[in-house]
């Protein structure tokens, strides 16, 4: 391709096995992450067709979605979960895929452990049977969520059939105010573009506010690209990225690391490259964000109010809003800071990393969780947990009355015992506030780790910019 290219254009063309005139393409997959929920049927398909895994060494498996976060030493009591986990272990053994099981310290949420191990690398194509695979785009990788049939396709062929998506850029410039972070950036973006705003697109996040984020913050931003409908989100690698990988177990080492960095330096959008659409945001104007409804686009400033459906002209939108407010049991005009919560959840692939633990602990230190709140901290991986414990963060949480759990997806999707009861309201650092997502009839408000921690203590949402 002649002319200036985007980061996405470059990674795409470096992975093309074939591209037909009609745009249908076969792309090579460098890294494949698998977990217990979306892989059993894929392995079953391979078995039935007598196929093998083409590149077991480019595949890594972990258990995360339905694993209990309380003591696991007695085994897993739910027979269906236990069978699903045993099935993964057996499939990995039969097909020669490395597997981090529930007793492995490296076990954790699939999108936390990939980068942590250096399995995720800049300039790679990464897939996983999970929509939040977009997380890995933070490193300048093309990372996409796929369905189970595609998992089977990648296992068998190490390729994926697809066609190129459109380029979209979101530029966030300016300095973030204190108390406002990566989660507020991405929630604001989704509020701006809507949940289908990125459909058929790959988003590149750029601008000074993005550049100044840590790798953890960048992962939080890219993670929720799917909530904006995009197939992938990415950020060009820079010094922060290279440094992150130095010494990681599966990252290149020594001279090989240096030659990798040389390549990674070419992974940026050329001046003059074209984007089909572009959005700009001023970071200095962003407030802490809370969601009020049952779609991640239902965002409002912490100082805002629950919106009024009677003011919405479009009928379908008005009905959607009414439905969401009925589900959430919120009256129009209610101040968000007056909304009381019953539960707080700090964790998930959006906000379960060490920086998130630190941000929450900084708010919690020396305080007590409100009597009305049950609060849970679930580290994203065993290594995050160990690091947090080494820093004494677990003590800060438990002294304040938080529960400190084993790593996993936990109450992000509530497949294990960690779930909301009907009617309970939760301040959650996860990524989806869909009906029933965190438990049947449960009510979820998406917020940053600092906001969730503060709400747990106050018993209602607070503006952490002027709260202590």
């Amino acid at each position: 391709m002649a002319g200036p290219r985007t980061l996405y254009d470059k990674i795409w063309s470096d992975h093309l096995v074939r591209e037909d005139e009609d745009g249908s393409a076969l792309i090579y997959i460098d890294r494949h992450l698998i977990h217990e929920v979306t892989s059993p049927q894929a392995f079953e398909g391979l078995r039935m067709a007598g196929r093998k895994v083409r590149c077991p060494e480019k595949t890594l498996a972990v258990v995360d979605h339905n694993i209990p976060t309380l003591d696991r030493s007695q085994g897993i009591s739910d027979p269906e979960s236990a069978l699903q986990i045993e099935t993964l272990a057996k499939n990995c053994a039969d097909f020669g895929v490395e597997y981090f099981d529930e007793s492995d310290e490296r076990q954790g949420v699939v999108h936390v452990i990939g980068p942590e191990q250096g399995f995720t690398l800049p300039g790679t194509t990464i897939v996983c049977g999970d929509s939040h695979t977009a997380t890995h785009g933070a490193f300048g990788a093309l990372a996409m969520g796929i369905g189970t049939s595609e998992v089977e396709h990648v296992l068998a062929t190490q390729t994926l059939i697809g066609r190129k998506e459109k380029n979209m850029r979101i530029v966030v410039d300016g300095e973030l105010p204190d108390g406002v972070g990566a989660k507020d950036i991405i929630l604001s973006i989704i509020g701006e573009i809507g949940t289908a705003g990125g459909t058929g697109k790959v988003i590149e996040y750029a601008g000074s506010a993005i550049r100044s984020l840590s790798m953890e913050g960048r992962m939080t931003v890219c993670n929720m690209s799917i909530e904006g409908g995009a197939r992938a989100g990415m950020i060009a690698p820079d010094e922060t990225t290279y440094e992150y990988f130095r010494g990681r177990p599966r990252a290149p080492q020594g001279a090989e690391f240096d030659s990798a960095v040389e390549y990674w330096k070419t992974l940026c959008t050329d001046d003059g490259a074209e984007f089909e659409s572009e959005i700009r945001l001023d970071a200095s104007k962003l407030p802490p964000i809370v969601t009020w409804g049952t779609s991640p686009e239902n965002v409002v400033s912490i100082l805002g109010q629950v919106p009024d459906p009677t003011k919405i002209a479009d009928e379908a939108r008005r009905r959607a809003m009414q439905r969401a407010l009925a589900y959430m049991d919120l009256a129009p005009g209610t101040n968000m800071v007056d909304v009381e919560i019953d539960r707080a959840f700090i964790g998930s692939c959006t906000n379960g990393r060490i920086e998130d633990m630190r941000a929450a602990a900084a708010i919690v230190a020396g305080k007590k969780v409100s009597d009305r709140v049950n609060a849970l901290v679930v580290p994203g991986s065993g290594l995050v947990k160990a690091q947090a414990e080494a820093e004494g963060l677990d003590k800060i949480f438990t002294t304040a009355g938080f529960e400190w759990r084993e790593p996993g997806c936990s109450m992000c999707l509530a497949m294990n015992d960690d779930k909301l009861k009907p009617g309970e309201r939760c301040a959650s650092t996860s990524n989806r506030n869909f009906e029933g997502r965190q438990g049947y009839r449960g009510r979820t408000h998406l917020v940053s780790p600092a906001m969730a921690a503060a709400a747990a203590i106050a018993g209602h949402f607070v503006d952490i910019r002027d709260w202590n």
Binding site: D14, H15, V17, R18, D22, L26, Y28, V37, T38, Q41, E44, G45, R51, R54, N66, D78, S81, L83, Q84, L121, G123, G129, D130, S131, G145, I146, G147, T148, S149, H153, A156, T157, T159, I161, T195, A196, T199, I226, G229, E256, F257, S259, A260, Y263, S295, A316, R317, R319, A320, R323, L413, A414, M415, P422, R432, F434, E435, G436, R437, Y440
Partner: protein
Amino acid sequence: MEKFKTLSGVAAPLEIMNIDTDMIIPKQYLKTIARTGLGKGLFSELRYDDDGNDVPDFVLNQPAYKNAKILVAGDNFGCGSSREHAPWALKDFGIRCIISTSFADIFYNNCFKNSVLPIQLPQEDVDKLMDDANRGANAIVSIDLEAQEIRGPDGGVIHFDIDPFRKHCLLNGLDDIGLTLEEADSIDSFEKTASAERPWL
């Protein structure tokens, strides 16, 4: 994969925007290791009350729509989780075609792997089919994939677009893993070049 050529049946109206895959098939059904049997969980949180009884108002519980083969739905159908359990559940229930103004990408892809046809149409066509669907059991809608046409109960015809490769695979029930494996030589040679250029991978 099963072939998809034509389909004729009742269309059920589901006028909700942003129907996500958590709504289509809630997490408690994801513990299965099989692809089949998920129909009972389809839309379960809308379909059943707290005691597990049918909610009479929910469209797929109404006598007219119990055997619906087509779903006409609001914007951005299938957003959220990548779970292929969503099309598995729809298919297991008997729904082979979904019509909306827009679909989330992963869900859209997943449908084609399971011989379920997602049809994207402009708002006015979806409105027309939504009206047809609201007329109940006598309003039979027919789909002809080869001709790329939807025939409404009054005989009106709506044309739809579809990617030619996907159409070909659906019509012939092709398994795309088999097709890709035929390209093993190209994959081998890609791997050789790539590992020379990026040996650390």
